[in-house]
């Protein structure tokens, strides 16, 4: 059964909108639902895997992630307070993707309460949730939508039951408006008053019916972010904004790191001198470097620069990008179909390392004392963080408390707890609380990167038809050891036949990659060298394999269209399997005026992607004319300019269309950067990039003059994932447009990788640059 058309009914035997929840005993109204409720991924056990279609059509990564949440019977609870406001601690992490807003909307909808009276916070690590507290794979709304609705519906029912007794009316005659319950006579009782009456002495199980689609008036409407006011007034608190009041005596701490990637400290030659520097309180070796604690971060930076450290060599000492490329090429799996002269269309693509770092650097607060540890941080795998911190400190896991703070972006980076572990180690070494932050220079140089990869594609055309399409993706290993790996280990037996023997990476690849075209025999295989975790620090950067895999695919799709003398849109429409993909493609072509006349040196490009139970189409216009490519902006990496972008997305039920549009814009900024400008250069054992003046992520001077995103009405009742859905088609569309504008298909990404470096690499010893003093010269 194709997952994008229908959803299986829940296994409980209740109807699709009927669920069981709990009203908790005690004082105050607390209601609960099982976090595994309604998780009805495509049936996994015993499902035969046909050779066609591909796996993700039947059972994809999100089914897998949802499946993982099912056996963990942790409850999630909503509390209605005496003011009638609802409170909910979401067992997921907000990093900008908008889940606190969409979750508040889902609760507000089911509870008939204004959105601003629903208060969503982030739950600390809850070990009893096992695998069900990981924010990744764009899976939050897919997996939590039903349980949260059920809990809210239980709350509404408990409130109405209490009000019926108090008002002496039948429950069925009551109505709710803005958190106030009315009977037919106009008598009313607020949620706050009803909540005081609603709590039973003992926990009881209740059955509730969820709202029908036609009754919705919050879900599906554009809502601004619930934290927007805090964000624009500077009140929004990130981990490093915790002050003396939150964690007394947690002083700034930074780490001096090795010149080589993953080099490790042996000894400090001038510890006493550095410890005596102004503001400095502590200096100590931790496994990843030398930690310094001081009154201010500025004094930490000065101390890091002053440290004289003996280092062990790094994990790729002396190696450069070209060496890694050679390794990847030699590890490439063979293609099955031989090259057949004029009937073969092929490409051999290279995707370079790129930093996954957010604007908020890796950071965490830690207080380790008396055999316990407390950590605060933007952590997407808090249970995994708890376990790793415990292990690093030699403490039982139960002695470690992990508090989740909103994060300043993640893009896969915050799945790992690198800074939390370092902060705990530093706090233990110092015997004092720390507020540990990475210097920006450490981020691209020592932080987690999207792995370098090659993609070999060969397609065969015979008698006007595409009869085979093969892809061999070869990559430096992606590190999945952040809890998702544990899920895989634990759940591997439940996977569809044939998947159980694969490694983590191959499983994720197989569950996420789908070539949505009818191209005859299709094979897509991943090969990763399995010892790379020790060499490179990687993570599943936003959209994992898809941006690279799909860019290679879509460039070849354009070549196939050209070979068959068909327009790229017409060719895609002819070969696409899925109705929802065709629909977004048609709409993007229409909105973006596909096929309009463009001056020489400029062109349109279009691409599609199907993942996260939805589909995305992106149409861009690019200007590759000399005067544009060479435009001068001070200290800027300019190059080809995407002048216009149109994104059309079908993400199933869009809880918050405004949030969906925001994610598509962000995904576009990522995809475009990866196609044109953004990478890490590995030279002689270390990455050259050390700050935002080196790493050419999208900036205003690269931003399209026009950006439009349309969220189409979906025929599906369940929400899909949106946080990553915009990246792959954006990168592919920009690459396709560039190929059409220049008349030559790019094969190495970003396209400017081999241009002369636009910067002078910063020093490796000291490991961080000096803080400038000339800021007043640039006042504007």
């Amino acid at each position: 059964m194709p997952h994008d058309q229908t959803t299986d009914p829940p296994a409980t035997g209740l109807s699709r909108r009927s669920f069981v929840g709990y009203v908790m005993g005690g004082t105050g109204l607390v209601v609960a639902a099982d976090l595994a409720l309604g998780a009805a991924p495509a049936q996994a056990a015993g499902l035969p895997i046909p050779s066609v279609p591909q796996v993700p059509e039947l059972y994809d990564l999100n089914d897998f992630l949802t499946h993982c949440t099912m056996p963990t019977s942790g409850l999630i609870a909503i509390h209605v307070d005496e003011q009638g406001d609802a409170h909910f601690a979401l067992p997921r992490m907000e990093v900008g993707q908008g889940i606190t807003t969409s979750t508040a909307m889902i609760i507000a909808e089911e509870l008939d309460l204004p959105v601003e009276r629903v208060h969503v916070t982030l739950a600390p690590a809850r070990r009893e949730l096992l695998f069900n507290q990981l924010t990744g794979g764009s899976n939050t709304t897919i997996s939590t939508y039903t349980p949260i609705r059920v809990a809210a519906a239980v709350a509404r029912k408990a409130l109405l039951d209490a009000a019926a007794i108090q008002l002496g009316a039948l429950v069925t005659t009551l109505s709710v408006k803005g958190g106030v319950i009315f009977d037919l006579l106009g008598n009313s009782l607020s949620y706050g008053d009803a909540a005081a009456l609603a709590a039973p002495a003992q926990t009881k199980q209740v059955q509730v019916e969820l709202k029908a689609a036609a009754e919705r008036n919050v879900v599906g409407t554009p809502q601004r972010r619930v934290d927007a006011l805090d964000a624009v007034t500077g009140r929004k608190k990130f981990a490093m904004d915790l002050t003396e009041v939150d964690v007394p005596d947690a002083l700034p701490t930074m780490v001096c790191r090795a010149p080589d990637l993953n080099g490790r400290p042996v000894s400090v030659r001038n510890q006493a001198a550095v410890a005596a520097m102004p503001g400095v309180t502590h200096v100590a070796i931790i496994p990843t470097g030398v930690a310094v604690r001081a009154r201010t971060f500025g004094q930490c930076i000065d101390a890091v620069r002053a440290l004289d450290v003996e280092w062990k060599g790094g994990t790729v000492a002396g190696r450069s990008s070209a060496d890694i490329l050679e390794e990847l090429r030699s590890a490439q799996l063979p293609l099955a179909v031989p090259r057949l002269g004029a009937t073969t269309v092929e490409g051999d693509f290279v995707f370079h390392f790129r930093s996954g770092s957010a604007l908020e650097p890796n950071c965490a607060v830690a207080d380790v004392r008396d055999g316990t540890a407390t950590v605060w941080g933007g952590l997407k795998s808090p249970i995994d963080a708890q376990s790793k911190v415990a292990k690093a400190l030699g403490l039982p896991q139960a002695k470690v408390t992990v508090n989740v703070v909103q994060g300043g972006g993640s893009f896969g980076r915050k799945l790992f707890s690198d800074a939390a572990i370092e902060a705990a180690q530093a706090s233990q070494a110092f015997g004092a609380p720390v507020k540990l932050m990475w210097h920006r220079a450490d981020e691209p140089r020592q932080g987690r990167v999207h792995p370098m990869a090659t993609s070999r594609v060969r397609a065969t055309v015979l008698l006007g038809s595409v009869i085979s399409f093969e892809q061999r993706h070869t990559s430096v290993s992606t590190d999945f050891t952040h809890g998702l790996g544990e899920r895989l280990t634990a759940e591997v037996a439940a996977l569809p036949t044939g998947l159980g023997n694969l490694g983590f990476s191959e499983t994720v690849f197989l569950l996420s990659q789908e070539l949505p075209y009818n191209f005859g025999v299709v094979t897509q295989l991943l090969n990763e060298s399995d010892r790379d975790f020790d060499r490179f620090n990687t993570s599943s950067v936003r959209n994992i394999y898809s941006p690279d895999v799909r860019t290679a695919n879509e460039l070849i799709v354009d070549q196939l269209a050209a070979k068959l003398k068909l327009d790229p849109v017409a060719f895609r429409l002819k070969h696409l399997k899925s109705g929802i993909v065709k629909n977004v493609l048609r709409r993007a072509a229409e909105l973006g005026e596909w096929g309009r006349q463009m001056p020489a040196g400029t062109a349109q490009g279009i691409a599609i992607h199907k993942e996260y139970k939805g589909a995305t189409a992106v149409l861009v216009e690019i200007d590759c004319r000399r005067q544009t490519v060479d435009r001068r902006v001070r200290d800027a990496v300019t190059g080809p300019r995407v002048t216009k972008a149109t994104v059309v997305v079908d993400c199933g039920l869009a809880i918050n269309p405004l949030g969906v549009q925001a994610q598509m814009m962000g995904g576009f900024s990522d995809g475009m950067a990866q196609a044109l400008t953004y990478s890490n250069h590995l030279v002689d054992g270390h990455f050259l990039e050390a700050s935002w003046d080196n790493s050419a992520y999208t900036r205003q001077w690269n931003t399209p003059f026009e950006f439009r995103c349309e969220v189409v009405d979906s025929d599906r009742e369940e929400p899909g994932g949106i946080g990553e859905a915009g990246v792959a088609a954006s990168m592919a569309a920009v690459a396709c447009a560039y190929a059409r504008a220049t008349g030559s298909m790019p094969t190495e990404f970003p396209i400017n990788f081999h241009d002369p470096l636009h910067f002078e690499p910063k020093s490796f010893v000291p490991s961080v640059p000096a803080s400038p003093t000339n800021g007043l010269d640039f006042v504007s």
Partner: protein, 159 residues
């Protein structure tokens, strides 16, 4: 330790700290004013952008010893008070209207840059151009750039 006095968001403040500590750390680590964010420490990401005497500057690149009692520093926390009325600054309102923020980390700096840009362009007696918007250096890793452009135009019209 030397004492340093300057104006911060309409109030006179005095801090006891070494001359060479950059103003960003004086604000964040000594005074607990955390609106200006750290993103690079070398004046390239612009996340800490604040105003000095009404113009944009980056406190990560200015030692506290370089300013004096007459210098007025405005951070995002004090921006609303620089505009007439009790509400937010018009640029903050524009940011809300366009729902610009995603993670929000860069947005205090973005807004402070935007206000200074509009003031500068206005002083030059001209309208904001695409080139002006292209010249903004603030990094937004969530990629909200297009909404920032729209919000600046809306905010400028109301300033």
């Amino acid at each position: 330790m030397p004492k340093h006095t300057f104006q911060l968001n309409g109030e006179t403040v005095t801090v006891d700290v070494e001359d060479d500590v950059r103003i960003l750390w004086v604000l964040r680590d000594v005074l607990g004013v955390t609106g200006p964010k750290y993103g690079c420490g070398i004046n390239v990401c612009k996340a800490c952008t604040s105003h000095i005497n009404g113009k944009a500057f980056n406190p990560c690149a200015v030692p506290v010893g370089a300013i004096g009692p007459g210098d007025e520093i405005t951070t995002i926390e004090g921006l609303a008070d620089t505009a007439p009325g009790d509400g937010l600054h018009p640029m903050q309102d524009a940011w809300l209207e366009h729902d610009v923020a995603q993670c929000g980390y860069c947005q205090p700096g973005q807004i402070m840059t935007a206000v200074a840009l509009v003031n500068r362009v206005r002083a030059e007696n001209r309208a904001i151009t695409e080139d002006d918007l292209d010249s903004i250096r603030n990094v937004c890793r969530c990629g909200t750039y297009s909404r920032i452009r729209e919000a600046i135009r809306t905010g400028a019209a109301r300033m």
